[in-house]
């Protein structure tokens, strides 16, 4: 990897590439990383984050998180805030898997209680939460019902008995982006999505049973506020998105934007995947309304999956999920664009914040957080690899420098093909089982692709976010059971 020659160190973990780096850059690009992580970045990150800095209307800096890597248009880990009146919206700044995200659910069970039933739990979860190529969900809805779900988000699911009311307030945006308009999505998108509610997907999507060990609690007080109160407490974390529906919405509008950009708006960008249109244009507003439908579909999907997890635990332990303490900690989104209010250059302003493979991390006291997290800051769920562990972090005041955005995961370091050449799925499963992690997969090769060594070190990533003042560590969570998509 070659770091750009004009990259300048701003502080311990902040690096800046000036506007003079490339023609057309409107703002500097900033990379948040430790020296080690910086040296591990692929070249694509620097190329892409400086391309992002050329997008019309961008304010502040084009930012890349410590888990950043090559993406389409934007790097994964990319952040760009636009002036909504004069700036653009770019589907490439959101990604194909719109509102791919993480959800974390508590239990009041300890590892000692769960361990004897771990296999049963994982096997039943694998049966109840369909995963893999083209998997169909367990919720049967008509196309019209599905359109309703797109506009209502997680509330739609809770009204139908999939989950609890309090889940909503513990979800980013309360599980629904207002202004979602199902008339802005294609029939093809509905075709792809309406039978996929409650499915995990594949690739890096997973559902994991984890343990919070006492030695891995960084901040006991915040951990308690987040519901981690027992020694060796068991929690369930999962990662999934808007499935075929969101992928089709992204594809449909990539086409629309590419054509409009060439013909109508004459915007020139260095990469076709950076296709964009003025936010206030017809194309921009249509995409925004359709993207919100995909955001909501993803909230519905995770809401139904949470319900299935509660069902399985309830059956296996013969108790009501409420008696098992299965409260949701939080649900965070990775791939979105949202209008948010931030203080910028000393004044409160509405900005269109694109986060791609990056997590919102609101600091203490910010509007938009439920009362229960007002003092602590927003819970941030960061998924590591299935072998190494994941984190629960909290948002901090100093996050203003990235419009309250932090990392989303560990970030891939090895290509899928390379991982498949190096590891064998079945062997990896056996080795993991010997180490106390029981894993079920929809694809053996897919399992090999997700080997821990294919990812950056999640400990380094979250440490970098803490040193950079983007979020702080609360608990490190260790995997014991995994359903891999």
């Amino acid at each position: 990897m070659s770091v750009p020659k004009d990259l300048r160190r701003i502080s311990d973990t902040v690096w800046e590439i000036p506007v003079s780096h490339k023609a057309g850059m409107l703002v500097p690009a900033r990379v948040f990383a430790t020296e080690t992580l910086l040296s591990e970045f692929d070249d694509g990150v620097f190329e892409q984050i400086t391309n992002v800095a050329t997008l019309p209307g961008i304010v502040g800096h084009a930012c890349c998180m410590p888990d950043g890597h090559w993406g389409y248009g934007f790097p994964i880990g990319g952040l760009a805030a636009m002036d909504p009146d004069h700036g653009v919206i770019s589907p490439g700044g959101i990604g194909f898997d719109i509102n791919c995200g993480m959800r974390l659910c508590l239990t009041t069970l300890t590892y000692g209680e769960v361990q004897p039933r771990l296999r049963t739990l994982v096997d039943r979860l694998a049966g109840r939460v369909p995963a893999g190529v083209g998997a169909e969900g367990t919720v049967r809805v008509s196309r019209d019902d599905f359109r309703e779900a797109l506009e209502q988000g997680a509330r739609w699911a809770v009204k139908r008995g999939y989950g609890w009311k309090e889940d909503l307030e513990r979800t980013e945006e309360e599980g629904c982006l207002r202004g979602a308009d199902a008339s802005r999505v294609s029939e093809k998108a509905v075709d792809r999505g309406y039978r996929q509610i409650g499915t995990l997907g594949s690739g890096n999507h997973y559902l994991e049973i984890q343990v919070a060990r006492a030695e891995n609690i960084f901040d006991p007080e915040t951990a308690r506020a987040f519901g981690i109160v027992l020694p060796d407490q068991v929690v369930v974390m999962f990662h999934c998105g808007s499935r075929g529906f969101g992928h089709q919405v992204a594809t449909d509008y990539l086409r629309v934007f590419a054509a409009a950009m060439r013909g109508k708006y004459r915007i020139h960008v260095p990469d076709r995947e950076l296709a964009c249109a003025p936010f206030l244009s017809t194309e921009g507003q249509d995409y925004f309304a359709a993207m919100k439908c995909a955001v909501n579909m993803s909230f519905v999907n995770r809401q139904v999956i949470l319900h299935r997890i509660r069902e399985v635990f309830s059956e296996v332990f013969g108790k009501d999920p409420k008696d098992l303490g299965m409260r949701q900690v939080y649900d965070v989104s990775h791939n979105t664009a949202k209008i948010e209010r931030h203080v910028f250059e000393g004044k409160p302003r509405e900005l269109l914040v694109h986060r791609k493979g990056a997590t919102r991390a609101f600091g203490p006291g910010m509007p938009g957080l439920p009362d229960v997290y007002r003092k602590t800051g927003q819970p941030v769920i960061v998924g590591g690899s299935m072998e190494t562990g994941s984190y629960l972090l909290a948002g901090v005041d100093t996050g203003a420098c990235t419009f309250f955005t932090t990392a989303h995961g560990s970030g891939r370091a090895m290509s899928r093909t390379a991982a498949r050449k190096r590891y064998r799925g079945r062997q990896l499963q056996e080795e993991m089982e010997e180490r106390g992690i029981y894993v079920r997969t929809a694809s053996w090769s897919g399992l090999a692709e997700e080997a821990g060594a294919a990812y950056k070190n999640v400990d380094d990533v979250v440490e970098a976010t803490e040193r950079a003042g983007l979020s702080r560590r609360v608990v490190r969570l260790l995997p014991v059971g995994n359903v891999k998509g």
């Binding site: 169909e136 093809k188 694809s443 090769s445």
Partner: protein
């Protein structure tokens, strides 16, 4: 004979990139369709020709026409849960660009018989190339998985 497609490691860390080749444009398109299927299924030979789907697609450039073909296969994978191999393909120039007519054969996804790999989310425009070579045609495609 050169295999009609190969996966490229250096382009997509988190996703899948491939190069497809063919003596004719049609052959190269068929190879790209198989490469897309092979991203989702370990052995494409396990997909039996039980169902037939025929479709026509248009685009104003050849690379976008390939994008449309592969995207249609990704769509049918979710919408109808079909794994398909394109058998017959015709590409023609029109006043506004290009049009293709395709017939594809395959069957419903059955994880018991089709060892599955990664779900393809989308065909991307990232580094998408369709070009002539001294011995035919070549394309590079990146799939989001």
């Amino acid at each position: 004979m050169t295999p009609p497609y190969r996966y490229l490691e250096e382009i997509a860390t988190a996703d899948v990139a491939f190069e497809a080749r063919g003596a004719t444009l049609e052959e190269m398109f068929l190879a790209a369709a198989d490469a897309t299927l092979n991203t989702m299924v370990e052995e494409i030979g396990t997909v039996a020709p039980r169902e037939r789907r025929a479709f026509s697609l248009a685009a104003d450039a050849l690379d976008l026409l390939l994008f449309e073909l592969l995207q249609e296969l990704v769509y049918l994978k979710d919408a109808e849960r079909l794994l398909l191999r394109v058998r017959d393909l015709r590409i023609e120039e029109t006043g506004a660009g290009y049009r293709l007519h395709a017939e594809a054969y395959g069957e419903t996804i059955d994880p018991g018989r089709h060892p599955l790999l990664a779900d393809v989310k989308a065909v991307t425009l990232h580094r998408l190339v369709v070009e002539r070579t001294p011995d035919g045609w070549r394309a590079v495609v990146v799939l989001d998985v």
